[in-house]
Structures are given as structure tokens and as C-alpha cells.
């Protein structure tokens, strides 16, 4: 034993707290730099910071550090997806009979456009093209919600955008789940029935979301409507649902969407209050996007970038076509349809949420999928938040100076 044995090793070992704290602080600084441009949303700064610090940039963050941070990322995504689910008011679809057809048209036409591009023009295998097209249906919930919060946006386009995002995420998750058995059939060594697994994911996730809602509503009845206890209750329910979905190998995304949708639509006695995650959510947003940025690699912008760019364009045209096709009967003005289409631009990163089951059952397929759409994802990481910000400002529903 040395005289200074009580001192830590040098350099001290990096632990999860340090990673979390430093990513937060660095992300915040990046966000502030982006905000000073008055054109870029803060989110672009968070992503850029993550990219700069991550393996694709300076390499200060390695895979093991990122793995430690992913637990918090899952929770962050849980908050966001729950909040999104709360925006899916089914009563609205009952009163506006064009709302659901419009959402489905936007999803289906964009899928067809992406699939046709990848399969017919890009020569990509049918199944890979179908999975990539399905992933592309979904708009990134975290991006649109963060831009909405940042601009304090509210109004018809914002409300409709969030409804569409909730719906196209549900469609995409269900689509992936339907395709999963076909992916698994190709993967070697699967000893279970792939169809049964799909059913398990869909039915189990719906059931988990519903049961979590029932428990939440029951506890809310007991605790009453004070915002403090309801905040903790809601966050607690979200964490448990994330954990249970992971433990049950279910879809975290679908279970939390269902929890949010139930909270909005099945709370007939209005026991639940509309908990505002406020600054707590912002904190996790920063973290989530720094991590998302860290997953980007420079080679994603390389040789297959043209296909990624075409993918992005086909997706945008498909979404716009779906919206414009039904705009007139739905009483949506052309300007609203255009801004709505633009606002739906952001796309999910492959590392989070939706594609987890694919990586779990068929890692090789997951890798090929990444090769197909990674450059599209990378482009949309850059353009998506800017497009949503621009769209909401053009719709007159956000305040450019409304930064916290």
C-alpha cells in the first residue's frame, strides 16, 4: 500500500454520471451555438455536438460509453412517445372523417414511393426495400416535439402534424412487426414460429400499454389531481412500461404510444391531468439528440449518398402527395398541406426505437438495412429539424424568438 493509496487512479475512470453530465453540458452549448444562427433549431446543435464528440468525429465517446448512456436514451424516448400518444385524439377522427384517411394516405403513398425507388430503381432486394420503406413512414417524434416546444408552436398545422406523427409511427411499428416473420425466416437458427413472435409483439405491446394505463388511472384516482403526484405517477408508469417492454421483448415504442393514446382517449372520468414534462423533458431531449448525433458516421454521406438523397426526396413527395390528394375535401388550405408535409420531414435514426426487433432477431439483415437507408437518415438528421422549424414558422404557428 502506498502513502497516497486513497487517491483515485490517474486518469480517473469515466463513469456513467460523468458521461451523462458532460454530454448534457456539451449538447447545451452546441444548441446555443445553433440557436444564435437564428435559422437552425437548437436540436441541430445537439446532433452536431454528438457527432463531433462521437466515434464519427473526435472519438472522445466510444461505444462502451454510449452503451452506458442508452438506458437514459430509452427513457427519454419513452417520455416523448407517451407525450405523442396523448396527441392522438380519436374523437377528432370521428368528427373529421378525412383525418384518418389523410393520415393513412400519407403513410401508404410515402411507403410506395420509397419502396418503388429502392426496389425498382435502386435494385435493392424486395424485403429490404419493404422494411426500409416502412421505417421511412414514421416521422421522428422527438424532433417534431422538440421543435414544437422550442418555438412554443400551437395551431391547426401543429396539432395536425402531431396527430399524423402519432399515426404514422403506429403504422410503421405495425408494418415492421408484420414484416418481421419474413426477416426471421431468412435468419438462421430461429427455433420459434416467426408469426407467433409478431403476434406476441403487437398483442403484448398493446396489452402492456393498456394495463399500464389502467394502473395509472387507478392510482390517479387515489392521488387526485395535484400536478406534483400526477407528474411522478406518469413518469413512474412510463419507466415501468419501458422496463416491462424490454423484459418482455416487446416494442417499447408501441407500448408507450398505446399508453399515451389510452391516457388521452379512455380516461372517461378525466382522472389524469395533462402533465407538463417541461424542463425535465428538455433535459432528456438534449441528451437524446447528442446520442443520436454520436451514432452518425462520415461514411454515411459517402458512396451511397445519392440513393439516400433520392430516398429522402421520394419520401417527401409521397407524404406531400397523400396530404394534397385529400386536402380539398378535408378543408385544408394548400398552404396548410404544404407546411404540414414539410413539417413531417424528420426521420427516425435506426438505432433507436422501431428497428430494435430487427437487430435482435437478424443482425445481418439489420446491417444491410443500415447500409440502404443510413445516408437518408443522416441527411434527414440535418434537414429534418430545419424543415419542421421552417414549416411551423411559415404556418404562422411558432415564434422564432421563443427560445428558453
Amino acid at each position: 500500500m502506498t502513502a497516497a493509496g486513497f487517491l483515485p487512479h490517474w486518469p480517473p475512470a469515466v463513469n456513467g454520471f460523468m458521461v451523462f453530465g458532460l454530454l448534457l453540458l456539451a449538447g447545451l452549448c452546441g444548441g446555443r451555438l445553433a440557436a444564435t444562427t437564428r435559422v437552425l433549431p437548437a436540436i441541430t446543435g445537439y446532433i452536431a455536438t454528438g457527432f463531433l464528440l462521437g466515434p464519427g468525429g473526435l472519438g472522445w465517446l466510444d461505444e462502451s460509453m454510449l452503451a452506458q448512456a442508452r438506458v437514459i436514451a430509452e427513457f427519454s424516448l419513452g417520455l416523448i412517445v407517451f407525450d405523442l400518444g396523448r396527441r392522438l385524439d380519436l374523437d377528432w377522427a370521428r368528427h373529421d372523417r378525412w383525418l384518418l384517411p389523410m393520415g393513412l394516405a400519407e403513410s401508404v403513398i410515402s411507403f410506395v414511393a420509397m419502396f418503388a425507388l429502392l426496389h425498382l430503381l435502386g435494385g435493392i432486394d424486395t424485403l429490404e426495400a419493404a422494411v426500409a420503406g416502412t421505417v421511412g413512414i414514421a416521422t421522428a417524434p422527438a424532433v417534431v416535439l422538440l421543435v414544437t416546444y422550442e418555438l412554443k408552436a400551437d395551431g391547426p398545422v401543429t396539432r395536425r402534424m402531431l396527430w399524423h406523427v402519432a399515426l404514422n409511427n403506429i403504422v410503421a411499428v405495425l408494418g415492421i412487426t408484420v414484416l418481421l416473420p419474413f426477416i426471421e425466416a431468412r435468419a438462421e437458427g430461429a427455433s420459434w414460429n416467426p408469426v407467433a413472435r409478431s403476434l406476441w409483439i403487437v398483442a403484448g405491446s398493446f396489452l402492456l400499454g393498456y394495463v399500464a394505463f389502467r394502473v395509472l388511472a387507478l392510482l390517479a384516482r387515489w392521488f387526485g389531481k395535484s400536478p406534483g403526484p400526477q407528474f411522478i405517477l406518469t413518469v413512474g408508469a412510463i419507466i415501468v412500461t419501458v422496463g416491462a417492454a424490454q423484459a418482455g421483448r416487446l416494442s417499447v415504442l408501441l407500448a408507450l404510444l398505446v399508453l399515451g393514446v389510452c391516457a388521452r382517449n379512455l380516461d372517461r372520468d378525466h382522472r389524469l391531468i395533462d402533465v407538463d414534462f417541461g424542463r425535465a423533458a428538455q433535459l432528456f431531449f438534449v441528451f437524446l439528440f447528442v446520442l443520436a448525433g454520436a451514432a452518425l458516421r462520415t461514411d454515411q454521406f459517402g458512396s451511397i449518398a445519392w440513393l439516400g438523397l433520392a430516398f429522402v426526396v421520394a419520401r417527401a413527395i409521397g407524404k406531400a402527395a397523400g396530404l394534397f390528394a385529400l386536402a380539398w375535401p378535408a378543408h385544408i388550405s394548400p398552404r396548410q398541406a404544404a407546411t404540414l408535409g414539410l413539417a413531417l420531414t424528420p426521420m427516425l435514426g435506426l438505432s433507436i426505437g422501431m428497428t430494435q426487433p430487427i437487430y435482435a432477431v437478424a443482425p445481418e439483415f439489420g446491417a444491410r438495412l443500415t447500409a440502404v437507408v443510413a445516408s437518408g437518415v443522416a441527411i434527414l438528421y440535418l434537414l429534418g429539424p430545419i424543415a419542421t422549424r421552417y414549416a411551423l414558422l411559415r404556418a404562422g404557428e411558432g415564434e422564432p424568438a421563443a427560445r428558453d
Binding site: 396523448r86 385524439d89 368528427h95 378543408h331
Partner: protein, 369 residues
């Protein structure tokens, strides 16, 4: 300098302006959807006129000109149904009430018309604070001098109008202890209050010319008085009422103003400058306590509960009520006097549900019912 011409209209015709709240159905805060709602609803060409107001979470209904309470009510029901139908399709709701209980005025967006932008420029933060919701009742006048007389004679009844329509006990997230907190917002404007005591349209024109010449006003719209003549419509406009929680109540209150005008023009009670001695106090009492407020008579020096004076006024108006066909309206107002005004109803909802978003939810359901 333009002289103010009074366009005479048929005496005792009447119409209503109602400023309404647009709220979202998620947390029931105000929703900035006026533009979209007006764009959609005007396609259906509802009767009367739909207009924007100072901030984007407000819309205004202007009814056509009517002679009978029943006609006015029918039109208000039709307009309400058109608006409520479109609001449902947009996932917003419409509510009555003089204030939104918990909105933050700083979050409001000015509706971008030339007039509203100039009001915002002129009054600073008061413009956004003006996101309060009132009912205006217009009474047709056969001559300009009749309008001046009526404007002054109705001043005594300002507390009565306030108490009957009061529906703004909550403001900026708190119970204000007032039945009508809305008027405190209006009071902040430099040209609020009452018309100066003038005897004729000539005298009024002289006053107006002076204010115009001094650069203080550019039109009659710049006077935010409780009651003002409206020369281009040929009416007197009563502006102190909160927007009630239902269009039915709005029509009942309009019927009350109409019957009062009918009686005042017939009986011609003398009006002296003394009305202004106790006006502010009486007005405050009605805002603060509603029907339980005290009414002080500046001439006799006596004080009495406002509710007693209202009952006596209703009795005095009886022959005019039946002539004008407003019996149903006054039966409903009698019930209000017995059971409490909209402020009482709102406080009951809060006591039962415990949150202000729930109160707005009930408010919106009541308006659309």
C-alpha cells in the same frame, strides 16, 4: 375635420356582438385558431357576421338586426351550431365566459390586421391583456338625441348588466374573488369609463371634435366606454357585459337591455350629472359581489342590494316585456337571479372538479349544448 353623422335606425331593433374563446381539447388552454375557424365557417355563410378579434384565440359573432328576442335566439343558435361543428372538426372547442381562467396573456398572439397591430403598438402589453371576452348589445335609435339620452339613462343600470352577465371569476389561474374580473382589464385603457355628461348630439359632436383635434382619437372605436353611441349603425352600444356561458343567456340579456330602452324612452326619467357620483362605486360592487353588491342612489342617498333593485326593475318593465315578446327571456333571468349567475356556475364546477382545465372543459360543453 369629419363631422359625426348619426344614421337613424328603427327604435328598439337590436343585435348582439359576442367575443368567444377558442380552446384546445388537450389541456383546454386558449388555441390560436381564429384564422382557420373563420376561413372554414364563413364557407357555410352563417347568418350575421364572423370576425377576428385582437388576439388569435378569439372570434366574434355579430348577429343581424332583430326586433324580437325569439328571432335573435334562433339566429344565435344557428351561428353557434355552425361554429361548434367546424371547431369539432379542427379539434378545438369554443367557450363562453368573460375571461379564460388560466391562460397567460404574454403567450397570446396579436391577430395581424392593420387595426389590431396599431392597437398593439399604441397600448403595449395592454393589447395582449385585452384577451378578455365581452358581449355588446346594440339598441336601434330613431334619432341622435335619443341615442345620447339612452346612453346616459342606461348608466344607472350598468351594475345590473354586469351582475347578470358576470362570468369571469377566474383570471390568470386564480379566483379573483370578483364575479366579473374582465372589466378590471378594460379599466386600464385611458379612454375607458363613461361618456362625458352631454345633453345633445350637438354637444357630443363638439366634444368629439375636440378630442379628434387634439389627436387623442381617430374614430369612435377609440372610446372604450361602458356605453357609447354608435353613429354609423344608429345604435347605442352597451359594452359592459361579460360574454355569458351560453348564447341563450346572451339573448336574454339583450332582451333586458331592449326592454329597459323601451321603458326609458317612454317614461323619460330625468337624468342628471349626479349619476356619475356613485357610478364607479356601484360598478365595482357589481363586479366584485355580483347580485350581492350594494347599489347606492346618489340622489336619495339610500343603499340597497343590487338583487332587490333588479327584481323591482323587472317588475317595472313587465308591460314592455310582453309587448316586445320577451316573456321567456325574463323567466330565465328570474331563475338567474334566484339560482346565481355564470360566475356562480363556474365556481361550482371548480369545487366539483378541482382544476381549471376541467372548468373550461365544462364551459365548452355547456356552450355547444
Amino acid at each position: 375635420m369629419p363631422a359625426l353623422d348619426f344614421t337613424a335606425s328603427d327604435a328598439l331593433t337590436f343585435g348582439v356582438e359576442l367575443e368567444l374563446q377558442l380552446v384546445n381539447t388537450r389541456d383546454y388552454n386558449l388555441a390560436p385558431d381564429a384564422d382557420d375557424l373563420l376561413r372554414r365557417a364563413t364557407r357555410d355563410a352563417p347568418p350575421g357576421e364572423l370576425k377576428p378579434e385582437i388576439t388569435q384565440s378569439m372570434v366574434e359573432i355579430n348577429t343581424s338586426v332583430h326586433r324580437r328576442y325569439a328571432e335573435l335566439l334562433t339566429e344565435l343558435h344557428a351561428t353557434r351550431d355552425v361554429l361548434a361543428g367546424h371547431a369539432r372538426k379542427m379539434n378545438v372547442a369554443i367557450a363562453g365566459g368573460g375571461t379564460h381562467p388560466f391562460q397567460k396573456w404574454s403567450e397570446r398572439k396579436i391577430y395581424p390586421t392593420e387595426r389590431f397591430l396599431s392597437v398593439s403598438e399604441k397600448y403595449g402589453f395592454l393589447a395582449k391583456q385585452f384577451t378578455v371576452f365581452g358581449q355588446h348589445v346594440h339598441i336601434g335609435c330613431a334619432s341622435a338625441d335619443d341615442a345620447i339620452y339612452l346612453t346616459l339613462a342606461l348608466v344607472r343600470y350598468v351594475p345590473h348588466f354586469i351582475a347578470l352577465a358576470a362570468s369571469s371569476p377566474y383570471y390568470q389561474g386564480v379566483d379573483t374573488a370578483f364575479d366579473s374580473s374582465r372589466l378590471s382589464v378594460v379599466n386600464a385603457f385611458p379612454l375607458s369609463g363613461t361618456m362625458p355628461f352631454v345633453r345633445s348630439w350637438r354637444e357630443f359632436n363638439h366634444y368629439y371634435d375636440r378630442m379628434f383635434g387634439l389627436g387623442i382619437v381617430a374614430s369612435m372605436k377609440d372610446f372604450y366606454w361602458d356605453i357609447r353611441p354608435k353613429p354609423e349603425y344608429g345604435t347605442v352600444e352597451v359594452r359592459v357585459c361579460d360574454t355569458p356561458l351560453t348564447v341563450d343567456r346572451a339573448a336574454e340579456i339583450a332582451a333586458f337591455v331592449q326592454a329597459l330602452a323601451s321603458w326609458l324612452w317612454e317614461a323619460r326619467p330625468e337624468v342628471t350629472a349626479d349619476i356619475y357620483v356613485t357610478h364607479s362605486y356601484n360598478r365595482f360592487q357589481a363586479c366584485r359581489h355580483g347580485f350581492a353588491g350594494t347599489l347606492v342612489d346618489p340622489v336619495s342617498g339610500s343603499s340597497r342590494p343590487l338583487a332587490d333593485d333588479l327584481r323591482e326593475t323587472f317588475d317595472r318593465l313587465a308591460p314592455h316585456i310582453s309587448l316586445l315578446g320577451s316573456t321567456d327571456a325574463f323567466a330565465a333571468l328570474d331563475r338567474v337571479l334566484a339560482e346565481g349567475n355564470d360566475a356562480t356556475w363556474l365556481r361550482r364546477q371548480y369545487a366539483a372538479s378541482g382544476t381549471l382545465p376541467d372548468v373550461v372543459r365544462h364551459q365548452a360543453a355547456l356552450w355547444a349544448a
